[in-house]
Amino acid sequence: MLPEQQDILWTFLSLIFTVFSVIVFIIVVQNCRERDDVDSKKWGAIFGVFVIANFLCTKHMLTLTQGGQLAFIWWQVLVIFVELLVWGVFCKGDKIESQSPPLIRAAFFWVVIGLLLAGYTNWLPQQRSDPPPKGGAAISADLTMEDFTEMGRIIVFGAKQVAGQKSIGKGQCPLCHTFEPGNNIGRCPNLFGVEERSHTRIKEERYLNLPMKIGEKEPATGVVKGVRDGVDAAYQRGGSDDLVGEDYLRESLMCPSCYVVTGFGKAGDTKSPMPVISKPPISLSPIELNAVIAWLQSKDTPGEFSKVTVPLPSAEASAPAEDSGGDDEEAPIFVTGEEDVPTMINTLGCPLCHTIPGVEGAVGELGPALHEKTNAPNRIKDSRYEGKATNTKEYVRESILCPGCYVVMNEEEGELFPDGVMPGDFANKLSVKAIDKLVDFIANTEAPPAG
């Protein structure tokens, strides 16, 4: 439902409440007619008022939109509860037995169970999945390699994240693959170190011969294995004809069955269950596919892009951005280092959790205050510290890139600050220049003088 539309459940409930009040009115009138000692006019008038009140509530509900309905429905619920209370008084006071027919009780039970179930579903994590934009990604003229690899990361993981939820982007890769060392969900190979493997894999005997030989055409995709020009022309790389690691990565995406990692395939590891990434339903454009390759080549060395072999796309090469549909898509967070330090810090969202001297408004308390000029040397000497830093700058850099490497003690609470709250992906949000600049600044922060 769009915010400007009505909520179908609340509207329905409002109508049901009105019908309920009419039924109660009829039952009360029947009870009154069956007995002479009951004041028919009084009770008829009272329950008639409830009918009118509910009718007006429903009429008003029909004029509201979703947010207004959610706020107003409680008033009608209140009316219904008062009506139930008065009904109880009527039955009790006039000693009327079998007050409500089974239909009413059953309906009440039905509605309560139904609403409890709806409530339960609203209690769980909410994640709306929008369709990927149509067409290819739009490229600007000043695109850097950091931007390009970040584009690849977003294709893999998506730009939006919900607390406690695994994020999945257009490429849908995390459904099956993992990317951190030691994390293996067993569906598909862990892609940690895939850049390094891509160079050695193409020389392995198994790759050269199984499930098909180099130079053979894979029937389902039409890709010729192990040949630079074996994929569709739009996806081919330029340069030498020699088979390189980039070709292996591209081939793995466009022809998953050209080579199947042992233990991860079907029919004796000859068929891969992986979809062809350049075809529906994922349908990555050539630029998007290159961005994913760039990210795969750089992800294990944060801030270091020397291993990326795919070229940056030109703005002209970008697909026309018609109907990109990405207006509501959050722009990925990225700082280049050209900004001043407070801007960088605010862009990255540090002030939400940290108090940072010298940055206006940075008074967060969820994480430790950043007085690193004085704190860092002590922490390096802490018996719990198992990191590799030997000086303040190294410690700050490590803390940014690997927040869980050392968790600071919250002295006021007498316990550690919670681990896992600080994002671990700053490596993908900072250029090399930006991180150096940030480290220089934070390494010199210290508590303001008392008083």
Binding site: M1, Q6, G164, M274
Partner: protein, 659 residues
């Protein structure tokens, strides 16, 4: 008296077993059928290629346009290469703004969902009731000679159910019309494509609907006339078989549209029809969805009839009516639970086929954005167990001799509560940073352990085991065991249950020490333990009933109100669960009308949040039950006769205790 009646009631499980056997035969046959089908397809295809090539040559000579061949998106030949077919249709359209219409007050997608779900609910009901009627009427005919009174009672029950179904049938047709108009008016571009592919199927569907209506009217209105003569009565029973056959074909034809949308076949990548309508109908999910729906219909129909009977029980004016509807509740619940037991297996088959079609579609369901919906499904199943146990506990109260076991009920309820709580504990929930900090991470340090599959598998298996134990006690309730080995037998049953429970708990705890991919494998021995209690426990239990004496008849008409509300809980859970699973199956297409072929370019192409979906499911559930009430009320207007004219059904047999 009871023993005599029990023999008559034995037919119910046999008939149910026969129905299930047919379903299971579908499972088994599928594997063989697929191979045989692949062979025939290959031969057919080779022949078609040859003929096509010849025609092309001839056509070329005559200056006619060439025949174009293209590859099927699903079907493959023997070598695993995509099957080729002659292009016989237009490409799938790239839908634009002009292909979608909408009203201001609600999104088109919600309106279509509502229209579709309401039609499906009623469709399920009207397909399920003839199955019940067939079985009940058959039992009535079979018992006519030995107990004419009881036979008449069965016959009347079947007739009454058909009366309700007849009104619902018209209602279903109206809802079908609304659904059709909703498609045509709100999604004209998409419907045009579907109509282009399924043109002949839609016409056959309409004709089958006509046939169904004809047979239904003859079956219902000929009930009294054909009931007098034994031969005509058998003809009448045969009509019910024919009615069910036509109904099943109707359902399968309609299923083909949905399964094609989810996992298409018989078309090429551009969505062009390749000339073989059977390929389009018989896409990969067609069989499992069909079997799953038949079983689901039986369960759903049982839930509706049970709720109908429970409502009439609560509003009954005299003991006879109460006894009749109490018995009707029992029959309905027995059928519903009997259909429920094999339902998960059909579900597994369906999921297996989904994974075989596209692994990422399966993972999206079980491990991706739809995973939470499966947790909700688990909660719903937990509710079903609660309802079933509660009903059994309350039913035991009216069985003489059950006092010996009633004292255990509270412990079973306690176990169910603990397990249910464990099952519905989410792995993570939405939190503010402050809450996240207060809890020390995304998972709670203690409760978080119950959010993982190890705990959940353990919980559900214990719940099922508890339900089985409850059922065994119900079976034994009015039996005075006389076999000399009763102590040994009881010890065996106790040992089986204790061992199974220990094994389930041990494997659950052990799972925490294993990686996720290995942990999954532990569910197999856990389920095996549970099934062992079912089969071994029941076998020993039944064996002990030999020459047993009875403590007394069942006191029909004395079911507590709580028992009735347990049936209501089952009915609402079935309804909500059916909507939920339908939503999951449909929503897994994500932003595709037809997976990978026709993209959904409407403003509603997003996947809803769980909360939005939950509200819609509750609305659909409440709305359909409002309609059911109206339909039952309309059905009752045709003449309210007193039920249970024949006699007080104290001697009505109990299937669970027939052994």
């Amino acid at each position: 008296m009871l023993g005599k009646d029990q023999r008559k009631f034995r037919a119910i499980p046999w008939v149910l077993a026969a129905v299930l056997a047919v379903c299971f035969a579908g499972f088994a046959q599928n594997a063989f059928a697929k191979e045989a089908f692949a062979e025939s397809v290959f031969a057919e295809e080779a022949f078609a290629k040859e003929v096509g090539a010849q025609e092309a040559e001839v056509a070329e000579g005559e200056g006619e346009p060439e025949v174009e061949w293209s590859q099927d998106v699903f079907y493959k030949d023997f070598e695993g290469n995509p099957l080729k077919g002659i292009v016989s249709g237009y490409p799938a359209p790239e839908l634009g703004d002009s292909d979608y219409n909408n009203y201001d007050f609600a999104p088109s997608r919600m309106l279509l969902w509502m229209a579709n779900q309401q039609h499906l609910y009623f469709g399920s009901f009207v397909l399920a009731v003839p199955i019940f009627c067939m079985m009940i009427e058959f039992i009535g005919v079979r018992t006519k000679e030995s107990d004419p009174v009881l036979s008449a009672k069965y016959d009347k029950l079947a007739h009454d159910l058909m009366k309700v179904s007849l009104t619902a049938y018209s209602w279903t047709a109206i809802l079908g019309g609304i659904l059709l108009f909703t498609f045509i008016t709100l999604f004209p571009g998409f419907f045009k494509y579907m109509a282009g592919i399924f043109r002949p199927v839609m016409h056959v569907y309409a004709l089958m609907f006509l046939a169904e209506s004809g047979v239904l009217y003859v079956y219902y209105y000929g009930w009294d006339k054909m009931g007098a003569d034994p031969f005509l009565k058998w003809v009448h029973v045969s009509l019910s078989v024919l009615l069910n056959l036509i109904g099943t074909v109707l359902m399968y034809l309609a299923n083909s549209w949905a399964t094609f949308m989810q996992a298409p076949g018989g078309i090429d990548e551009q969505g062009r029809f390749l000339g073989n309508i059977w390929h389009v109908i018989h896409s990969t999910l067609w069989n499992p969805v069909g079997v799953h729906r038949i079983l689901g219909n039986i369960v759903f129909g049982g839930g509706i009839v049970g709720a109908y009977a429970a409502y009439h029980y609560l509003s009954a004016k005299n003991d006879e009516e109460k006894a009749h509807y109490d018995w009707m509740c029992y029959v309905a619940m027995f059928i519903a639970i009997f259909g429920l037991i094999p339902l998960p297996f059909a579900g597994y088959w369906l999921m297996k086929e989904v994974y075989a079609f596209r692994q990422q579609m399966g993972i999206t369901l079980m491990g991706g954005i739809m995973a939470w919906l499966f947790i909700i499904q688990a909660v719903m199943i937990g509710l079903l167990f609660f309802g079933a146990n509660s009903y059994l506990h309350n039913s035991m109260a009216r069985v003489k001799g059950a006092h010996r076991y009633m004292k255990y009920c509270k412990y079973m309820v306690l176990l169910l509560i603990v397990c249910f709580t464990m099952w519905m504990t989410p792995h993570t929930i939405v939190m503010t940073p402050a809450e996240l900090k207060a809890m020390g991470g995304a998972q709670h340090p203690v409760v978080g352990h119950f959010g993982v599959m190890s705990a959940k598998n353990t919980a559900v298996n214990l719940m099922i085991t508890c339900t089985i134990l409850c059922f065994l006690l119900y079976q034994k309730a009015n039996k005075k065991i006389t076999v000399p080995w009763q102590t040994v037998g009881n010890c065996w049953i106790a040992a089986i249950f204790v061992f199974a429970a220990c094994n389930i708990v041990f494997l659950g705890v052990y799972g925490y020490f294993l990686p996720a991919n290995q942990r999954v494998g532990l569910s197999v021995p856990q389920v095996t333990s549970t099934l062992t209690t079912l089969f071994a426990g029941m076998a020993i239990n039944i064996s002990m009933f030999k020459d047993s004496e009875s403590y007394g008849d069942i006191q029909w008409g004395t079911l507590s109100n709580v028992g009735c509300y347990a049936i209501f809980l089952l009915a609402i859970s079935f309804t909500w669960l059916m909507g939920l699973m339908g939503y999951i199956r449909s929503a897994v297409r994500l932003f595709w009308h037809v997976t990978e072929v026709v993209r959904d370019n409407s403003p509603d192409a997003y996947t809803l949040t769980i909360g939005e979906a939950g509200k819609m499911l509750t609305f659909n559930t409440l709305f359909v039950w409002v309609q059911f009430i109206v339909v039952f009320w309309v059905g009752s207007l045709t003449g309210k006769k007193k039920v249970a004219e024949a006699r007080s059904p104290e001697g009505v047999p109990v299937p669970a205790q027939q052994q």
